[in-house]
Protein backbone atom coordinates (compact mmCIF):
# COMPACT_ATOMS: atom_id res chain seq x y z
CA UNK A 1 0.00 0.00 0.00
CA UNK A 2 1.43 3.35 -1.03
CA UNK A 3 1.02 6.46 1.04
CA UNK A 4 0.08 9.66 -0.78
CA UNK A 5 1.39 13.17 -0.60
CA UNK A 6 -0.51 16.33 0.19
CA UNK A 7 -0.70 19.22 -2.27
CA UNK A 8 2.70 20.57 -1.18
CA UNK A 9 4.37 17.22 -1.76
CA UNK A 10 4.86 16.31 1.88
CA UNK A 11 4.30 12.60 2.45
CA UNK A 12 1.08 11.88 4.36
CA UNK A 13 1.39 9.83 7.54
CA UNK A 14 0.87 6.11 7.05
CA UNK A 15 -2.63 4.91 7.94
CA UNK A 16 -3.03 3.68 11.50
CA UNK A 17 -1.87 0.11 11.87
CA UNK A 18 -4.53 -1.21 14.24
CA UNK A 19 -7.33 -1.01 11.62
CA UNK A 20 -10.99 -0.22 12.30
CA UNK A 21 -11.76 0.62 15.94
CA UNK A 22 -14.48 -1.44 17.66
CA UNK A 23 -18.09 -0.46 17.02
CA UNK A 24 -19.40 1.88 19.72
CA UNK A 25 -21.47 0.03 22.32
CA UNK A 26 -23.19 2.90 24.11
CA UNK A 27 -25.82 2.54 26.83
CA UNK A 28 -28.97 4.07 25.34
CA UNK A 29 -30.79 6.97 27.00
CA UNK A 30 -33.78 5.73 29.00
CA UNK A 31 -37.21 7.23 28.32
CA UNK A 32 -39.38 6.43 31.38
CA UNK A 33 -42.04 9.00 30.47
CA UNK A 34 -42.69 7.19 27.21
CA UNK A 35 -43.78 4.18 29.20
CA UNK A 36 -45.98 6.29 31.44
CA UNK A 37 -47.63 7.98 28.45
CA UNK A 38 -48.17 4.64 26.72
CA UNK A 39 -49.84 3.12 29.77
CA UNK A 40 -52.11 6.15 30.34
CA UNK A 41 -53.23 6.34 26.72
CA UNK A 42 -53.82 2.61 26.52
CA UNK A 43 -55.83 2.60 29.77
CA UNK A 44 -58.04 5.46 28.54
CA UNK A 45 -58.59 3.75 25.19
CA UNK A 46 -59.57 0.48 26.85
CA UNK A 47 -61.94 2.32 29.20
CA UNK A 48 -63.70 4.09 26.32
CA UNK A 49 -64.06 0.96 24.21
CA UNK A 50 -65.21 -1.10 27.19
CA UNK A 51 -67.82 1.47 28.19
CA UNK A 52 -69.42 1.46 24.76
CA UNK A 53 -69.03 -2.23 24.09
CA UNK A 54 -70.77 -3.17 27.32
CA UNK A 55 -73.36 -0.39 27.28
CA UNK A 56 -76.52 -1.85 28.83
CA UNK A 57 -78.79 -0.72 25.99
CA UNK A 58 -76.55 -2.11 23.26
CA UNK A 59 -77.63 -5.45 21.86
CA UNK A 60 -74.76 -7.00 19.90
CA UNK A 61 -76.96 -9.81 18.73
CA UNK A 62 -78.91 -7.26 16.68
CA UNK A 63 -75.65 -6.13 15.09
CA UNK A 64 -74.82 -9.76 14.29
CA UNK A 65 -78.26 -10.39 12.83
CA UNK A 66 -78.21 -7.44 10.50
CA UNK A 67 -74.52 -7.42 9.49
CA UNK A 68 -75.11 -9.82 6.59
CA UNK A 69 -78.80 -9.10 6.15
CA UNK A 70 -79.72 -9.24 2.41
CA UNK A 71 -81.07 -5.65 2.38
CA UNK A 72 -77.88 -4.37 4.03
CA UNK A 73 -75.74 -6.28 1.53
CA UNK A 74 -77.74 -4.73 -1.28
CA UNK A 75 -77.20 -1.31 0.28
CA UNK A 76 -73.45 -1.98 0.31
CA UNK A 77 -73.55 -2.78 -3.40
CA UNK A 78 -75.51 0.38 -4.19
CA UNK A 79 -73.03 2.45 -2.15
CA UNK A 80 -70.14 0.91 -4.08
CA UNK A 81 -71.91 1.56 -7.40
CA UNK A 82 -72.64 5.18 -6.46
CA UNK A 83 -69.02 5.71 -5.39
CA UNK A 84 -67.54 4.08 -8.48
CA UNK A 85 -69.74 5.86 -11.02
CA UNK A 86 -69.54 9.25 -9.31
CA UNK A 87 -65.73 8.97 -9.05
CA UNK A 88 -65.51 7.92 -12.70
CA UNK A 89 -67.49 11.01 -13.72
CA UNK A 90 -65.40 13.10 -11.33
CA UNK A 91 -62.05 11.89 -12.68
CA UNK A 92 -62.93 12.07 -16.39
CA UNK A 93 -64.65 15.44 -16.13
CA UNK A 94 -61.93 16.61 -13.73
CA UNK A 95 -59.16 15.89 -16.23
CA UNK A 96 -61.12 17.69 -18.95
CA UNK A 97 -61.73 20.69 -16.68
CA UNK A 98 -58.07 20.80 -15.62
CA UNK A 99 -56.86 20.81 -19.22
CA UNK A 100 -59.49 23.46 -20.05
CA UNK A 101 -58.32 25.54 -17.11
CA UNK A 102 -54.74 25.46 -18.46
CA UNK A 103 -55.90 26.27 -21.99
CA UNK A 104 -54.62 29.36 -23.77
CA UNK A 105 -58.18 30.14 -24.86
CA UNK A 106 -59.58 32.62 -22.30
CA UNK A 107 -63.21 31.57 -22.84
CA UNK A 108 -62.41 27.89 -22.33
CA UNK A 109 -60.37 28.51 -19.19
CA UNK A 110 -62.99 30.91 -17.76
CA UNK A 111 -65.78 28.37 -18.25
CA UNK A 112 -63.70 25.86 -16.31
CA UNK A 113 -63.04 28.42 -13.58
CA UNK A 114 -66.74 29.22 -13.36
CA UNK A 115 -67.70 25.55 -13.16
CA UNK A 116 -65.27 24.97 -10.29
CA UNK A 117 -66.45 28.12 -8.53
CA UNK A 118 -70.08 27.05 -8.76
CA UNK A 119 -69.86 23.35 -7.94
CA UNK A 120 -67.28 23.74 -5.20
CA UNK A 121 -69.18 26.62 -3.70
CA UNK A 122 -72.51 24.88 -3.09
CA UNK A 123 -73.14 21.92 -0.75
CA UNK A 124 -73.37 18.44 -2.30
CA UNK A 125 -76.54 17.84 -0.35
CA UNK A 126 -78.17 20.82 -2.06
CA UNK A 127 -76.91 19.67 -5.45
CA UNK A 128 -78.35 16.17 -5.02
CA UNK A 129 -81.60 17.71 -3.84
CA UNK A 130 -81.63 19.97 -6.88
CA UNK A 131 -81.23 17.11 -9.37
CA UNK A 132 -83.78 15.03 -7.48
CA UNK A 133 -86.37 17.78 -7.83
CA UNK A 134 -85.39 19.03 -11.29
CA UNK A 135 -88.64 17.62 -12.64
CA UNK A 136 -90.57 20.29 -10.79
CA UNK A 137 -89.09 23.07 -12.93
CA UNK A 138 -88.45 21.10 -16.14
CA UNK A 139 -91.32 18.63 -16.39
CA UNK A 140 -90.42 17.50 -19.90
CA UNK A 141 -87.07 16.89 -21.57
CA UNK A 142 -86.64 17.34 -25.30
CA UNK A 143 -83.63 15.53 -26.66
CA UNK A 144 -83.11 16.14 -30.33
CA UNK A 145 -80.55 16.70 -33.05
CA UNK A 146 -80.54 20.34 -34.15
CA UNK A 147 -81.93 21.16 -37.61
CA UNK A 148 -83.54 17.74 -37.90
CA UNK A 149 -86.94 16.50 -36.88
CA UNK A 150 -85.44 13.78 -34.68
CA UNK A 151 -86.73 14.65 -31.23
CA UNK A 152 -87.35 12.49 -28.22
CA UNK A 153 -89.67 13.90 -25.58
CA UNK A 154 -90.13 12.37 -22.16
CA UNK A 155 -90.95 13.38 -18.63
CA UNK A 156 -87.93 14.40 -16.66
CA UNK A 157 -88.75 11.96 -13.90
CA UNK A 158 -88.48 9.12 -16.40
CA UNK A 159 -84.87 10.02 -17.08
CA UNK A 160 -83.64 11.53 -13.85
CA UNK A 161 -84.26 8.62 -11.54
CA UNK A 162 -83.28 8.98 -7.87
CA UNK A 163 -80.09 7.05 -8.63
CA UNK A 164 -79.19 9.34 -11.54
CA UNK A 165 -79.96 12.42 -9.44
CA UNK A 166 -77.50 11.19 -6.81
CA UNK A 167 -74.90 10.33 -9.45
CA UNK A 168 -75.21 13.79 -11.00
CA UNK A 169 -75.00 15.55 -7.66
CA UNK A 170 -72.00 13.56 -6.43
CA UNK A 171 -70.17 13.28 -9.78
CA UNK A 172 -70.47 16.88 -10.95
CA UNK A 173 -69.42 18.13 -7.54
CA UNK A 174 -66.48 15.73 -7.45
CA UNK A 175 -65.31 16.90 -10.88
CA UNK A 176 -64.74 20.36 -9.48
CA UNK A 177 -62.45 19.00 -6.76
CA UNK A 178 -60.74 16.51 -9.05
CA UNK A 179 -59.94 19.16 -11.63
CA UNK A 180 -57.97 21.12 -9.03
CA UNK A 181 -56.10 17.97 -8.03
CA UNK A 182 -55.30 17.12 -11.65
CA UNK A 183 -54.24 20.69 -12.36
CA UNK A 184 -51.86 20.63 -9.39
CA UNK A 185 -50.43 17.38 -10.75
CA UNK A 186 -49.94 18.78 -14.24
CA UNK A 187 -48.18 21.93 -13.11
CA UNK A 188 -45.95 19.91 -10.79
CA UNK A 189 -44.23 18.30 -13.79
CA UNK A 190 -40.99 20.07 -14.75
CA UNK A 191 -41.34 22.18 -17.91
CA UNK A 192 -38.10 20.60 -19.14
CA UNK A 193 -40.12 17.42 -19.68
CA UNK A 194 -42.52 19.19 -22.04
CA UNK A 195 -39.64 20.83 -23.87
CA UNK A 196 -37.74 17.58 -24.31
CA UNK A 197 -40.88 15.90 -25.64
CA UNK A 198 -41.62 18.79 -28.00
CA UNK A 199 -38.05 18.77 -29.23
CA UNK A 200 -38.57 15.14 -30.22
CA UNK A 201 -41.49 16.24 -32.40
CA UNK A 202 -44.34 15.18 -30.11
CA UNK A 203 -47.56 17.16 -30.44
CA UNK A 204 -49.44 18.62 -27.48
CA UNK A 205 -51.82 15.69 -27.07
CA UNK A 206 -48.95 13.20 -27.14
CA UNK A 207 -46.89 15.26 -24.69
CA UNK A 208 -49.81 15.38 -22.28
CA UNK A 209 -50.78 11.72 -22.61
CA UNK A 210 -47.36 10.08 -22.69
CA UNK A 211 -45.10 12.42 -20.73
CA UNK A 212 -46.93 14.87 -18.46
CA UNK A 213 -49.94 12.92 -17.15
CA UNK A 214 -48.02 9.73 -16.23
CA UNK A 215 -45.67 11.87 -14.14
CA UNK A 216 -48.51 13.95 -12.74
CA UNK A 217 -50.10 10.71 -11.52
CA UNK A 218 -47.65 10.55 -8.65
CA UNK A 219 -49.04 13.81 -7.35
CA UNK A 220 -52.64 13.08 -8.36
CA UNK A 221 -53.13 9.62 -6.84
CA UNK A 222 -52.80 10.25 -3.07
CA UNK A 223 -55.45 13.00 -2.96
CA UNK A 224 -57.62 11.03 -5.39
CA UNK A 225 -57.50 8.14 -2.93
CA UNK A 226 -58.68 10.56 -0.28
CA UNK A 227 -61.44 11.71 -2.58
CA UNK A 228 -62.58 8.15 -3.23
CA UNK A 229 -62.71 7.35 0.47
CA UNK A 230 -64.47 10.63 1.10
CA UNK A 231 -66.93 9.83 -1.71
CA UNK A 232 -67.71 6.45 -0.21
CA UNK A 233 -68.97 8.24 2.89
CA UNK A 234 -70.46 11.25 1.12
CA UNK A 235 -72.54 8.88 -1.00
CA UNK A 236 -74.68 8.40 2.12
CA UNK A 237 -76.17 11.81 1.29
CA UNK A 238 -77.97 10.07 -1.57
CA UNK A 239 -80.53 9.02 1.04
CA UNK A 240 -82.10 12.46 0.50
CA UNK A 241 -82.92 11.28 -3.03
CA UNK A 242 -84.35 8.03 -1.61
CA UNK A 243 -81.57 5.95 -3.16
CA UNK A 244 -81.36 2.56 -1.44
CA UNK A 245 -77.72 2.78 -0.39
CA UNK A 246 -76.22 1.57 2.88
CA UNK A 247 -77.20 4.55 5.04
CA UNK A 248 -80.73 4.73 3.65
CA UNK A 249 -81.29 0.99 4.17
CA UNK A 250 -80.03 0.93 7.75
CA UNK A 251 -82.17 3.95 8.52
CA UNK A 252 -85.22 2.25 7.01
CA UNK A 253 -84.60 -0.80 9.18
CA UNK A 254 -84.03 1.18 12.37
CA UNK A 255 -87.13 3.26 11.68
CA UNK A 256 -88.94 -0.03 11.87
CA UNK A 257 -87.24 -1.76 14.85
CA UNK A 258 -85.85 1.29 16.75
CA UNK A 259 -82.38 -0.33 17.11
CA UNK A 260 -80.80 2.93 15.95
CA UNK A 261 -77.29 2.53 17.34
CA UNK A 262 -77.04 -1.16 16.47
CA UNK A 263 -77.81 -0.46 12.82
CA UNK A 264 -75.51 2.55 12.78
CA UNK A 265 -72.78 0.18 13.96
CA UNK A 266 -73.65 -2.26 11.16
CA UNK A 267 -73.34 0.55 8.61
CA UNK A 268 -70.08 1.76 10.20
CA UNK A 269 -68.56 -1.71 10.02
CA UNK A 270 -69.31 -1.87 6.32
CA UNK A 271 -68.05 1.66 5.64
CA UNK A 272 -64.83 0.85 7.52
CA UNK A 273 -64.40 -2.42 5.62
CA UNK A 274 -64.82 -0.66 2.28
CA UNK A 275 -62.46 2.21 3.09
CA UNK A 276 -59.86 -0.30 4.31
CA UNK A 277 -59.97 -2.14 1.00
CA UNK A 278 -59.58 1.19 -0.83
CA UNK A 279 -56.60 2.09 1.35
CA UNK A 280 -54.82 -1.06 0.22
CA UNK A 281 -55.75 -0.44 -3.39
CA UNK A 282 -54.31 3.05 -3.25
CA UNK A 283 -51.08 1.76 -1.77
CA UNK A 284 -50.49 -0.59 -4.68
CA UNK A 285 -51.49 2.05 -7.22
CA UNK A 286 -48.97 4.49 -5.76
CA UNK A 287 -46.33 1.83 -5.86
CA UNK A 288 -46.98 1.30 -9.57
CA UNK A 289 -46.69 4.99 -10.43
CA UNK A 290 -43.54 5.40 -8.32
CA UNK A 291 -41.58 3.64 -11.09
CA UNK A 292 -38.44 5.62 -11.73
CA UNK A 293 -39.03 7.93 -8.77
CA UNK A 294 -37.83 5.81 -5.87
CA UNK A 295 -34.54 4.01 -6.05
CA UNK A 296 -36.12 1.06 -4.42
CA UNK A 297 -39.83 0.41 -4.43
CA UNK A 298 -41.35 0.45 -0.96
CA UNK A 299 -42.24 -2.95 0.39
CA UNK A 300 -45.79 -4.14 0.08
CA UNK A 301 -47.53 -4.77 3.40
CA UNK A 302 -47.17 -8.54 2.84
CA UNK A 303 -43.45 -8.21 2.14
CA UNK A 304 -43.08 -6.05 5.21
CA UNK A 305 -44.91 -8.57 7.33
CA UNK A 306 -42.65 -11.35 6.07
CA UNK A 307 -39.58 -9.28 6.73
CA UNK A 308 -40.82 -8.63 10.23
CA UNK A 309 -41.07 -12.36 10.85
CA UNK A 310 -37.88 -13.57 9.24
CA UNK A 311 -35.37 -10.75 8.80
CA UNK A 312 -35.67 -8.69 11.93
CA UNK A 313 -32.00 -7.77 11.88
CA UNK A 314 -31.76 -6.55 8.30
CA UNK A 315 -31.27 -2.84 7.83
CA UNK A 316 -34.50 -1.10 6.94
CA UNK A 317 -34.51 -0.13 3.24
CA UNK A 318 -34.39 3.58 2.52
CA UNK A 319 -37.71 4.65 1.10
CA UNK A 320 -37.34 7.94 -0.69
CA UNK A 321 -40.54 8.63 -2.53
CA UNK A 322 -43.61 6.88 -1.25
CA UNK A 323 -44.72 6.89 2.31
CA UNK A 324 -47.49 4.55 3.39
CA UNK A 325 -50.74 6.37 2.75
CA UNK A 326 -52.18 8.47 5.51
CA UNK A 327 -55.63 9.89 5.38
CA UNK A 328 -57.01 13.12 6.60
CA UNK A 329 -60.52 12.80 5.29
CA UNK A 330 -62.15 16.06 4.51
CA UNK A 331 -65.62 16.79 5.72
CA UNK A 332 -67.43 18.49 2.93
CA UNK A 333 -71.14 18.15 3.46
Amino acid sequence: MTTGTDILGTPLPAPAAQGRPPTIQAIPVRHPWRWVAAVVVLALAVAVVYTFATAPGLDWSVVRTFLFYPEIMHGVLVTLALTAIAMLIGVVLGVILAVMRLSANPVVSSVSWFYIWFFRGTPVLVQIFFWFNIGSILPYLHIGIPFTSLVWVGTTNQIVTPFLAAILGLGLNEAAYMSEIVRAGIISVDTGQTEAAQALGMNRVLVMRRIVLPQAMRVIIPPTGNETISMLKTSSLAYIATVGELFFIQKEISNFNYDIIELAIVASIWYLAMTSVLTFGQYYLERYFARGAARQLPLTPIQRFRRLLFHTHDPVPVVTAVEPPMFFPRHRP
Binding site: D190, G192, Q193, E195, A196, A197, Q198, A199, L200, G201, M202, N203, R204, L206, R210, I211, P214, Q215, F289, R291, G292, A293, R295
Partner: protein, 250 residues
Protein backbone atom coordinates in the same frame (compact mmCIF):
# COMPACT_ATOMS: atom_id res chain seq x y z
CA UNK B 1 -27.90 23.89 -43.33
CA UNK B 2 -28.77 26.51 -40.70
CA UNK B 3 -28.89 30.12 -41.74
CA UNK B 4 -29.66 33.05 -39.47
CA UNK B 5 -30.08 36.57 -40.81
CA UNK B 6 -30.47 39.42 -38.38
CA UNK B 7 -32.42 37.33 -35.88
CA UNK B 8 -34.06 39.27 -33.05
CA UNK B 9 -35.86 38.00 -29.99
CA UNK B 10 -37.16 39.78 -26.89
CA UNK B 11 -38.89 38.80 -23.69
CA UNK B 12 -41.03 41.82 -22.98
CA UNK B 13 -38.67 44.76 -22.95
CA UNK B 14 -35.54 42.64 -22.63
CA UNK B 15 -33.91 42.10 -26.02
CA UNK B 16 -32.15 38.76 -25.75
CA UNK B 17 -31.06 38.47 -29.37
CA UNK B 18 -30.16 41.69 -31.14
CA UNK B 19 -29.38 40.64 -34.66
CA UNK B 20 -27.69 37.26 -35.06
CA UNK B 21 -26.16 36.36 -38.42
CA UNK B 22 -24.54 33.02 -38.95
CA UNK B 23 -24.44 30.04 -41.20
CA UNK B 24 -23.75 26.38 -40.52
CA UNK B 25 -22.83 24.09 -43.39
CA UNK B 26 -23.80 20.41 -43.47
CA UNK B 27 -21.39 18.18 -41.49
CA UNK B 28 -20.05 21.25 -39.70
CA UNK B 29 -19.67 21.59 -35.93
CA UNK B 30 -20.37 25.10 -34.65
CA UNK B 31 -19.55 25.93 -31.06
CA UNK B 32 -21.19 28.88 -29.37
CA UNK B 33 -19.50 30.28 -26.29
CA UNK B 34 -20.12 33.31 -24.14
CA UNK B 35 -21.11 34.44 -20.67
CA UNK B 36 -24.46 33.39 -19.20
CA UNK B 37 -27.32 35.61 -20.29
CA UNK B 38 -25.67 36.32 -23.62
CA UNK B 39 -28.49 34.68 -25.57
CA UNK B 40 -26.68 31.48 -26.64
CA UNK B 41 -29.31 29.09 -25.33
CA UNK B 42 -32.16 31.26 -26.55
CA UNK B 43 -30.72 31.24 -30.05
CA UNK B 44 -30.36 27.47 -29.94
CA UNK B 45 -33.97 27.10 -28.82
CA UNK B 46 -35.10 29.31 -31.70
CA UNK B 47 -33.65 26.82 -34.19
CA UNK B 48 -36.22 24.15 -33.33
CA UNK B 49 -38.91 26.71 -32.58
CA UNK B 50 -39.07 26.15 -28.83
CA UNK B 51 -38.84 29.95 -28.90
CA UNK B 52 -40.37 32.19 -31.55
CA UNK B 53 -38.16 34.80 -33.19
CA UNK B 54 -39.51 38.34 -33.44
CA UNK B 55 -37.61 39.65 -36.46
CA UNK B 56 -35.15 38.49 -39.09
CA UNK B 57 -34.98 35.17 -40.89
CA UNK B 58 -33.97 31.82 -39.53
CA UNK B 59 -34.01 28.78 -41.79
CA UNK B 60 -33.04 25.14 -41.60
CA UNK B 61 -32.37 23.38 -44.91
CA UNK B 62 -33.70 26.39 -46.76
CA UNK B 63 -37.08 26.36 -44.98
CA UNK B 64 -38.06 29.04 -42.47
CA UNK B 65 -38.31 27.87 -38.88
CA UNK B 66 -41.88 28.03 -37.59
CA UNK B 67 -43.17 29.99 -40.55
CA UNK B 68 -44.07 29.49 -44.13
CA UNK B 69 -43.61 32.11 -46.80
CA UNK B 70 -45.99 32.39 -49.71
CA UNK B 71 -46.51 35.34 -52.00
CA UNK B 72 -44.45 37.71 -49.86
CA UNK B 73 -46.53 36.93 -46.77
CA UNK B 74 -45.43 35.01 -43.70
CA UNK B 75 -47.82 32.41 -42.31
CA UNK B 76 -47.44 30.75 -38.95
CA UNK B 77 -47.00 26.99 -39.29
CA UNK B 78 -49.59 24.59 -37.94
CA UNK B 79 -48.60 22.47 -34.94
CA UNK B 80 -48.35 19.37 -37.12
CA UNK B 81 -45.80 21.09 -39.39
CA UNK B 82 -43.79 22.44 -36.46
CA UNK B 83 -43.66 18.94 -34.98
CA UNK B 84 -42.61 17.39 -38.28
CA UNK B 85 -39.68 19.80 -38.49
CA UNK B 86 -38.70 19.38 -34.87
CA UNK B 87 -38.57 15.63 -35.41
CA UNK B 88 -35.68 16.18 -37.82
CA UNK B 89 -33.65 18.15 -35.29
CA UNK B 90 -32.21 16.47 -32.21
CA UNK B 91 -31.76 18.43 -29.00
CA UNK B 92 -29.76 17.69 -25.87
CA UNK B 93 -30.42 19.72 -22.73
CA UNK B 94 -28.25 20.90 -19.90
CA UNK B 95 -30.42 19.08 -17.36
CA UNK B 96 -30.85 15.94 -19.53
CA UNK B 97 -34.67 15.99 -19.24
CA UNK B 98 -34.93 12.25 -19.57
CA UNK B 99 -38.44 10.94 -18.97
CA UNK B 100 -38.11 9.62 -15.40
CA UNK B 101 -41.03 7.19 -15.63
CA UNK B 102 -39.46 5.33 -18.53
CA UNK B 103 -36.41 3.06 -18.69
CA UNK B 104 -33.45 3.99 -20.87
CA UNK B 105 -34.87 1.87 -23.68
CA UNK B 106 -38.36 3.34 -23.32
CA UNK B 107 -36.88 6.84 -23.45
CA UNK B 108 -35.05 6.04 -26.67
CA UNK B 109 -37.94 4.15 -28.26
CA UNK B 110 -40.75 6.56 -27.36
CA UNK B 111 -40.47 9.17 -30.10
CA UNK B 112 -39.68 6.86 -33.05
CA UNK B 113 -42.71 4.74 -32.18
CA UNK B 114 -45.15 7.51 -31.22
CA UNK B 115 -44.08 10.28 -33.58
CA UNK B 116 -42.82 8.43 -36.62
CA UNK B 117 -45.07 5.41 -36.18
CA UNK B 118 -42.13 3.05 -36.38
CA UNK B 119 -42.56 -0.61 -35.62
CA UNK B 120 -41.83 -1.21 -31.93
CA UNK B 121 -39.49 -4.13 -32.59
CA UNK B 122 -37.45 -2.17 -35.15
CA UNK B 123 -37.27 0.88 -32.88
CA UNK B 124 -36.02 -1.25 -30.02
CA UNK B 125 -33.39 -2.89 -32.15
CA UNK B 126 -32.07 0.48 -33.23
CA UNK B 127 -32.40 1.79 -29.67
CA UNK B 128 -30.25 -1.07 -28.43
CA UNK B 129 -27.62 -0.28 -31.05
CA UNK B 130 -27.68 3.41 -30.07
CA UNK B 131 -27.36 2.66 -26.36
CA UNK B 132 -24.47 0.37 -27.23
CA UNK B 133 -22.89 3.14 -29.19
CA UNK B 134 -23.00 5.56 -26.24
CA UNK B 135 -21.55 2.79 -24.08
CA UNK B 136 -24.72 1.92 -22.15
CA UNK B 137 -25.64 -1.39 -23.73
CA UNK B 138 -25.95 -2.87 -20.22
CA UNK B 139 -28.32 -0.17 -18.92
CA UNK B 140 -31.20 -0.79 -21.30
CA UNK B 141 -33.80 -1.53 -18.60
CA UNK B 142 -32.59 0.94 -16.01
CA UNK B 143 -34.57 4.03 -14.93
CA UNK B 144 -32.84 7.41 -15.27
CA UNK B 145 -32.52 8.04 -11.54
CA UNK B 146 -30.36 4.94 -11.24
CA UNK B 147 -27.85 6.41 -13.70
CA UNK B 148 -25.08 8.92 -13.09
CA UNK B 149 -25.35 12.35 -14.70
CA UNK B 150 -22.95 11.39 -17.45
CA UNK B 151 -24.87 8.21 -18.19
CA UNK B 152 -28.15 10.11 -18.23
CA UNK B 153 -26.78 12.61 -20.70
CA UNK B 154 -25.55 9.80 -22.94
CA UNK B 155 -29.03 8.24 -22.88
CA UNK B 156 -30.40 11.68 -23.79
CA UNK B 157 -28.05 11.80 -26.77
CA UNK B 158 -29.15 8.31 -27.82
CA UNK B 159 -32.78 9.40 -27.46
CA UNK B 160 -32.19 12.35 -29.80
CA UNK B 161 -30.27 10.19 -32.29
CA UNK B 162 -33.09 7.63 -32.39
CA UNK B 163 -35.09 10.09 -34.48
CA UNK B 164 -32.27 10.04 -37.08
CA UNK B 165 -31.94 13.82 -37.04
CA UNK B 166 -30.11 15.78 -39.70
CA UNK B 167 -28.98 18.34 -37.15
CA UNK B 168 -28.12 18.10 -33.45
CA UNK B 169 -28.41 20.95 -30.97
CA UNK B 170 -26.52 20.73 -27.68
CA UNK B 171 -27.45 23.19 -24.93
CA UNK B 172 -24.55 23.17 -22.45
CA UNK B 173 -24.59 19.37 -22.35
CA UNK B 174 -21.85 19.05 -19.74
CA UNK B 175 -22.62 22.03 -17.48
CA UNK B 176 -24.66 20.04 -14.97
CA UNK B 177 -22.12 17.22 -14.70
CA UNK B 178 -19.49 16.43 -12.10
CA UNK B 179 -16.07 17.20 -13.58
CA UNK B 180 -15.02 13.57 -13.86
CA UNK B 181 -18.15 12.74 -15.90
CA UNK B 182 -17.69 15.46 -18.53
CA UNK B 183 -15.22 13.40 -20.56
CA UNK B 184 -17.56 10.50 -21.30
CA UNK B 185 -20.20 12.82 -22.75
CA UNK B 186 -17.69 14.78 -24.81
CA UNK B 187 -16.31 11.48 -26.18
CA UNK B 188 -19.75 10.57 -27.49
CA UNK B 189 -20.11 14.02 -29.07
CA UNK B 190 -16.67 13.77 -30.62
CA UNK B 191 -17.65 10.45 -32.18
CA UNK B 192 -20.79 12.02 -33.60
CA UNK B 193 -18.82 14.85 -35.13
CA UNK B 194 -16.41 12.38 -36.72
CA UNK B 195 -19.35 10.56 -38.29
CA UNK B 196 -20.29 13.79 -40.00
CA UNK B 197 -23.27 14.94 -37.90
CA UNK B 198 -24.09 18.63 -38.25
CA UNK B 199 -23.93 20.03 -34.73
CA UNK B 200 -24.47 23.31 -32.94
CA UNK B 201 -22.99 23.16 -29.46
CA UNK B 202 -23.45 25.77 -26.76
CA UNK B 203 -20.62 24.99 -24.37
CA UNK B 204 -18.09 26.16 -21.85
CA UNK B 205 -15.67 23.38 -22.80
CA UNK B 206 -13.03 25.34 -24.68
CA UNK B 207 -10.90 22.24 -25.17
CA UNK B 208 -13.77 20.52 -26.96
CA UNK B 209 -14.45 23.63 -29.07
CA UNK B 210 -10.82 23.84 -30.11
CA UNK B 211 -10.45 20.18 -30.90
CA UNK B 212 -13.79 19.27 -32.46
CA UNK B 213 -15.33 22.56 -33.60
CA UNK B 214 -15.11 23.71 -37.20
CA UNK B 215 -16.28 27.18 -36.27
CA UNK B 216 -16.62 29.13 -33.08
CA UNK B 217 -18.89 32.02 -32.24
CA UNK B 218 -18.49 34.23 -29.20
CA UNK B 219 -21.74 35.84 -28.10
CA UNK B 220 -22.28 38.57 -25.57
CA UNK B 221 -25.28 40.80 -24.90
CA UNK B 222 -27.38 39.23 -27.63
CA UNK B 223 -24.92 39.79 -30.47
CA UNK B 224 -22.11 37.83 -32.05
CA UNK B 225 -18.96 39.61 -30.95
CA UNK B 226 -16.48 37.46 -32.75
CA UNK B 227 -16.50 34.41 -35.01
CA UNK B 228 -13.94 32.28 -36.75
CA UNK B 229 -12.02 29.02 -36.62
CA UNK B 230 -11.86 27.93 -32.97
CA UNK B 231 -8.08 27.74 -32.76
CA UNK B 232 -7.69 31.31 -34.00
CA UNK B 233 -10.41 32.84 -31.86
CA UNK B 234 -9.26 31.05 -28.74
CA UNK B 235 -5.56 31.75 -29.29
CA UNK B 236 -5.78 35.32 -30.58
CA UNK B 237 -9.10 36.91 -29.68
CA UNK B 238 -9.34 40.28 -31.41
CA UNK B 239 -12.18 41.80 -29.45
CA UNK B 240 -11.76 43.12 -25.91
CA UNK B 241 -14.87 41.36 -24.62
CA UNK B 242 -13.70 38.04 -26.03
CA UNK B 243 -10.31 38.52 -24.41
CA UNK B 244 -11.89 39.35 -21.06
CA UNK B 245 -14.19 36.30 -21.21
CA UNK B 246 -11.50 33.87 -22.32
CA UNK B 247 -9.06 35.07 -19.69
CA UNK B 248 -11.63 34.01 -17.09
CA UNK B 249 -12.53 30.59 -18.47
CA UNK B 250 -9.25 29.32 -19.91
Amino acid sequence: MVRAENVHKSYGRLEVLQGIDLEVAPREVLCIVGPSGSGKSTFLRCINHLEKIDAGRLSVDGELVGYHERGGKIYELREREVCRKRAEIGMVFQRFNLFPHMTAMENVREAPVRVKGENQRAAEERGRALLDRVGLGDKVDVYPNQLSGGQQQRVAIARALAMQPKLMLFDEPTSALDPELVGEVLDVMRGLAQDGMTMIVVTHEMGFAREVGDALVFMDGGVIVEAGPPREVLANPRHERTKAFLSKVL
